[in-house]
């Protein structure tokens, strides 16, 4: 989106349609090229230098291929639990950041399997309803809960159409250094934000999925036209779950 816009300073005062058209086309053409040393029209997905804030030139997302996701395999869930120090319990009162879901087409009997987690919406309903602005979307599209200001009202849990959020009911001990969690706050998939801030490579679930040889989860920058995920979503038909809600999710599905 950003790289497709003409430079307004150049276009100022020369508003003939041909010139404007020319500027638009050329700016599309040079998108991605370095316009000066160290200056890029879009940011290549890579680790940010320490001290740099997350940028909206990047939008992190995932593409999940239900065709490759094996029924009965739970590796992504286990990896998430280990990475983030979750108990792994599946009671209503246990935190679950990612769940395996099985869908059965009752007409054909076709069963498909997929992991379900926070969809990291562009227009997240959880952020809309949060009374304390604890729910927020980071510049790079990751939807998070700032537990310092979360009052545990759970309005976001009601607003989320994906049932992606959990409430911490009990006192916790032995949290991970990089994943602080505590009683009385709401939490959900962070898209492994601590990993992304470190190297921007992959999430625990995607890593576990490739390790198991399924490669059903593809993580990457949706704003970078050269990233694997962007190439893939350009090439094949993919779906956003509950696309009718117009949330523009960062997590997309293939083969459902």
């Amino acid at each position: 989106m950003i790289q497709n816009q003409p430079d307004h300073r150049q276009a100022e005062g020369c508003n003939s349609p041909e010139r404007r058209d020319f500027l638009t086309k050329t700016s599309i053409g040079i998108a991605g090229l370095a316009i000066a040393p160290g200056m890029m029209l879009y940011e290549v997905a890579q680790a940010r230098p320490a001290g740099e804030p997350a940028s909206n030139k990047v939008r992190w997302g995932m593409l999940i291929d239900s065709g490759k996701c094996e029924t009965g395999c739970n590796d992504c869930v286990t990896a998430c639990n280990t990475e983030n120090g979750l108990s792994g319990g599946t009671l209503d009162t246990d935190s679950q950041w990612i769940r395996k879901v099985q869908l059965k087409d009752t007409l054909t009997g076709h069963v498909s399997s997929l992991p379900m987690m926070c969809q990291h919406c562009e227009n997240p309903p959880c952020v809309d309803v949060c009374p304390t602005q604890a729910s927020f979307k980071r510049a790079d599209g990751i939807v998070l809960v700032d537990k310092h200001v979360c009052i545990g009202c759970r309005y976001c849990m009601m607003a989320c159409p994906y049932k992606a959020r959990s409430f911490v009911h009990e006192v916790l001990t032995d949290q991970k250094t990089e994943v602080p969690r505590g009683k009385g706050t709401v939490e959900s998939c962070t898209l492994c934000v601590h990993r992304i801030d470190r190297d921007g490579k992959t999430t625990a679930c995607a890593e576990a999925c490739s390790k198991a040889g399924h490669n059903a989860i593809l993580f990457g920058d949706l704003n970078d036209p050269q990233s694997d995920i962007s190439k893939r979503i350009r090439a094949v038909a993919t779906t956003q779950i509950r696309s009718d809600l117009d949330l523009n999710t960062g997590v997309r599905y293939e083969g459902i």
């Binding site: 804030p53 980071r138 700032d146 006192v171 032995d174 949290q175 250094t177 969690r181 505590g182 706050t185």
Partner: protein, 131 residues
């Protein structure tokens, strides 16, 4: 009336003298400073404003994703966790808990944040002696 004022003045001087005496014989907490070494700021300054520094940093890290700054709670723990228990809480000698108990200030950080070093120090020691 004058008598009342005199008694009050006497009582006040006795009270000041006794409290001054109390301050002299007061026991400060004996803290296990962990690894110790050079702090990111002057210790006297840290005693006063560490909470402001890490609160500022928490907002930057949480909201903006800025990591690797000068001030960080994880780094506090990394240096100051006890060399024995590997934790900054758990007893009144522990670095954070000891001082907070002394100052009667509630310590909320560790309801969510880890109180321990990522890598226990003992492991580091064994690795060193093994060389």
């Amino acid at each position: 009336m004058k008598m009342v004022i005199r008694i009050a003045a006497l009582l006040l001087s006795v009270w000041i003298a006794s409290s001054a005496h109390a301050a002299e014989s007061h026991e400060f907490p004996k803290l296990d400073i962990g690894k110790g070494g050079q702090c990111v700021e002057d210790p006297q300054l840290m005693r006063r404003i560490h909470m402001d520094l890490i609160k500022h940093q928490r907002t930057e890290t949480m909201r903006l994703g800025i990591r690797g700054g000068k001030y960080s709670l994880a780094e506090c723990v990394e240096c100051h966790a006890s060399t024995k228990t590997n934790s900054v809480v758990g007893s009144n000698e522990a670095f954070c808990q000891g001082c907070h108990a002394y100052a009667a200030v509630k310590l909320d950080c560790f309801e969510c944040h880890s109180t321990k070093r990522k890598q226990p120090l003992e492991a580091a020691k064994t690795a060193e002696t093994g060389k």
